[in-house]
Amino acid sequence: MLRLASKMAMARKGRLVLTSLAIILGTSFLSGTFIFSDTITKTFDRLFTDVFRDVDAYVRSSSFIDVPFGGEQRGSTPIAALPTVLEAPGVADATGDIQAFARIIGKDGEPIGLDNGPPTFGGIASASVAGLWTIEDGRLPEGPSQMVMDRASADDGGFVVGDTVRVNAQSGSREFELVGIASYGDISSPGGATFALFDQPTASEFLLKPGNVDAFLVQGDGSMSQEELAASIQSRLDPSLKLEVLTGAQIAEETKDQIGQAIGFLTTFLTIFSLIALGIGSFVIYNVFSITTAQRLRENALLRAIGAERGQVTRMLLVEATVIGIVGSLLGFLSGIAISQGLKALLAAFGGEIPSQGLSIAPSAAVITIVVGTVVTIVAAILPALRAGRVPPLAAMRDTALESVGKGRARLAIALVVLAAGGAAVAASLAGADNLILGLGVMLVFAAVITAGPLLARPVGLGIGRPIAALRGITGSMARQNAVRNPKRTARTAAPVLIGVALVTAFTAFAASVRTQVRDAIGEQFRGDYAITAPQQGFGGLPISLADEVAAVPGVTQATGLGFAAIKLDGESRFVAVIDPTSASGLIDYRMVQGDQRSLDANGILVSQSRAEANDWSIGDVLDVQLVDGTARPLTIRGTFDAQQFLGSYVVNQETFAGSDTNLFDSFIYVTTDGSEGVREALFDATEARGLGGLESRDEFIDSQSGQINQILALVNALLFLSIIIAVVGIVITLLLSVYERRREIGLLRAVGMTRSQTWGTVTWESVITSLYGAVSGVVLGIGMGALLIGVLADDGISAFTLPIGGTIVILVISFVIGVLAAIYPAWRATRTDIMQAISTT
């Protein structure tokens, strides 16, 4: 039986290739994701093992605030505690360490490093052996006007020792003399980050606050273990300083974990898309098996007639599926290596450059990919194999066999039940149930639509085909009939298109809604003529002092900064908007419901109306707030505002942070001018020309802020691209098999006068109708899902649903083009049909 199965599989190499192709595409993204994340994890692991090689103990503040996406903000360490550490038994050397925001400005005024790439750090260069840097060129910096930078940045900016270099950091924008160029271990720049290095007092004052560093790096004298050394230091430290001591191994591990967590988010994100691709691929695999077993009906019936048992026929097909599954997954795993490089390039194109050295392939990646791919293939083959086993031996005598069209009523009933279950789950999640329920509901709705597919394919396909038939005459109307002559097959072929289009449409609808909301919200909140935007969101930003410098520019009537900081509110980490109420008055408008925006003092806080209602807060209530260094700072509610939540739920005064260790930056500076000539140029010189953010007019700013979602949308669409490719391959395979199946019919048509180009047209229009059927159902489903997503997120401040008309038209046009492209090879094959062979009676 096994030999027969493999012989029969090999006898149809073309079919084998087509089926394998679907599996290869389905599994390659999964394998690509594994290899990609393995590679970057290994790169970072190696890097941090290297970096902390000489560090035996690590002293830092024990007070911290978790921030979203796997990071934390930690209090500072006073440099005054360093002598205590140096005196502790077992310590050979120790030095302060800073990893704060600093941006090196190139000679052309452009900042070095990518805006959304690896971080741009400022730090300390010291002679201590515990320090992380080695001077390659020149010498260590000394005093407030000297600096050193990493080799990669120096090469990038064309800097040599002796140059004057501008650096922007928390305390402002300054010029330094470049006295040396350093390397980090053996590498010129760790992880593609940029580094501006100073002596400790300059670094503390310029990057943080005078007298503060982030941590101490300690080297032991070898007389005790790392654990004993850490304990020895800890026992000497004054508990009121709230410092903790980690071993070198611990800090290396923790850093790896943090990076691993960030990579984990990325991996999860990519895995979701690779599972979507695999799911879509499994449809194609199922479709190919269904069609080919239908086409092999006579062959299987013959086997049954000459004495094969039902189970034998089924098993034979399953063996065939297993072999194809293993081979396809293996090839899919190998092509995943190329995909992993593609993912790296893709993320780099979206500004998220990730360093990686070489290629790291864990054996588990190969095993998981091949097992998952093979199992998916076998599962997809089970139904067709069972159907093949049920073939009556008499079918061998019959001529052709179309796939049976199942009982419509039963199918409809199942679809409606699944739809009802999905609808109930969605309704429950709208009423406040878990988001997991929502996901389940959406999956059920998808399943219902796909179950109902064979019932929908005929009417919808005929409807879509009507204008084509009207415009293209006989070829159009034959294409229309061909597209719906086997509704099951059409529905299965269109299912991948449906899923892909539904997802793209849902994201497009979601993005369109977000765009509209952001546009409206920023338009209301921002009352200025110009805005300066920090290039990097999330790490660093514009110096707080810049707002005052901008206000002093001739022609500027008012300028105010808007930043964000992390605090603990009732023990929970929260981001708060930070403003200067005096200069913000009339320029930033929090549409106040109660109270006055200007009454926000250093001990006050403004909260959004929805948060106030949810927590039953009112004006005068005192909130328990803790800053990053652990300082308790109770804040009194001075008012509630009715602004969108993505503009922040809480607003505090800059003064609130005075004297604390919180690092404060502005993300935006809003400006009003008297409209005098040359004011834009003057503003430009004061900001963008010095590498301090980007200057935009009111309209430009609103456009670019609301357009940020487009970048995420583009990334999502790029990741869905592979799914679209699989859908196209699915159409190609079905058409090829259909053309093969109808070769006699095509021969007849050619004999009675159908030209090659008419033959081409018929296949192409059939393909277009199939693709558009998937696209139209997908768009309807996608808009529904988008609306749903907006509904669920209503609490988070996104409420108005915007119909993405332009996006929908683009999707339909693309689906049309996909139909035309997918038909190229099958149509070419159809035109090459041998008339003589096709019409010969035997």
Partner: protein, 241 residues
């Protein structure tokens, strides 16, 4: 009488060297307008090959073929296709009809492919002749085998072609239905003035023709005018010797 189609020194060779098979070997034959000609011969005599080559479905290795005024030998695939849909009608043994089209759509298919409406009066006459007016909206799978072949005859007639080629048109039918279809073909020639060339190995079917051309081993092996089944059987017996 004018010639509807003709072959001159037609040869068709398959394979090379030792494997060479001469399906047609220097056949010269004319098919007159307004007559019903049958081509007969044992299996492998080249009768189907001759028909396919004269009909422009297959190409010759050497020699020439004409349909009406048109010389087929130097035509491109596109020109040949257009010639087939206007000048040639086909009736095959089976798989004559497109399953997704109705009977009427099948009848006018060559005209539709050419983007023409055709002669409505003529088409009506043809439909009445085959007697399937009440089945025009049906799909082929809703028609009997005989009805399907009658629709095929109507399709072959619809564009008033210069010549109709029929390849074993009754091969799949029982004898009563076969006679019915042959009767329609006969009337198409006698009453409607059409030209039919039919390949068959059935002596009774061949006896409906005005003239029979016998083929053996790719060569013309005789002719017969005003055939009867008995005369045909006798001739076939001699051919076999």
């Amino acid at each position: 009488m004018a010639t509807a189609a003709a072959a001159h020194e037609a040869s068709k060779v398959y394979g090379h060297g030792d494997n060479e098979v001469r399906a047609l070997d220097g056949v010269t034959v004319e098919f007159e307008q307004g007559r019903f000609t049958a081509i007969m011969g044992p299996s492998g005599s080249g009768k189907s090959t001759l028909m396919h080559c004269v009909a422009g479905l297959d190409s010759l290795s050497s020699g020439s073929v004409t349909i009406g005024e048109h010389k087929l030998t130097s035509m491109s695939d596109g020109d040949l296709t257009r010639l087939r849909r206007t000048q040639v009608g086909f009736i095959f043994q089976a798989f004559n009809l497109i399953p997704t089209l109705s009977a009427l759509e099948n009848i006018v298919l060559p005209l539709s492919l050419a983007g023409q409406a055709g002669d409505q009066q003529w088409i009506n006459q043809v439909i009445d002749t085959i007697g399937l007016r009440d089945r025009l909206g049906h799909r082929p799978n809703e028609l009997s085998g005989g009805q399907q072949q009658r629709v095929a005859v109507a399709r072959a007639l619809a564009s008033k072609p210069a010549v109709i080629f029929a390849d074993e048109p009754t091969g799949n039918l029982d004898s009563r239905t076969g006679h019915e279809v042959l009767g329609f073909m006969r009337r198409a020639v006698t009453d409607l003035g059409q030209t039919i060339v039919m390949v068959t190995h059935d002596a009774v079917a061949a006896s409906y023709a005005d003239r029979i051309v016998f083929l053996k081993d790719g060569k013309i092996a005789g002719e017969m005018l005003a055939p009867t089944p008995e005369k045909v059987l006798d001739k076939i017996k001699h051919l076999g010797e």
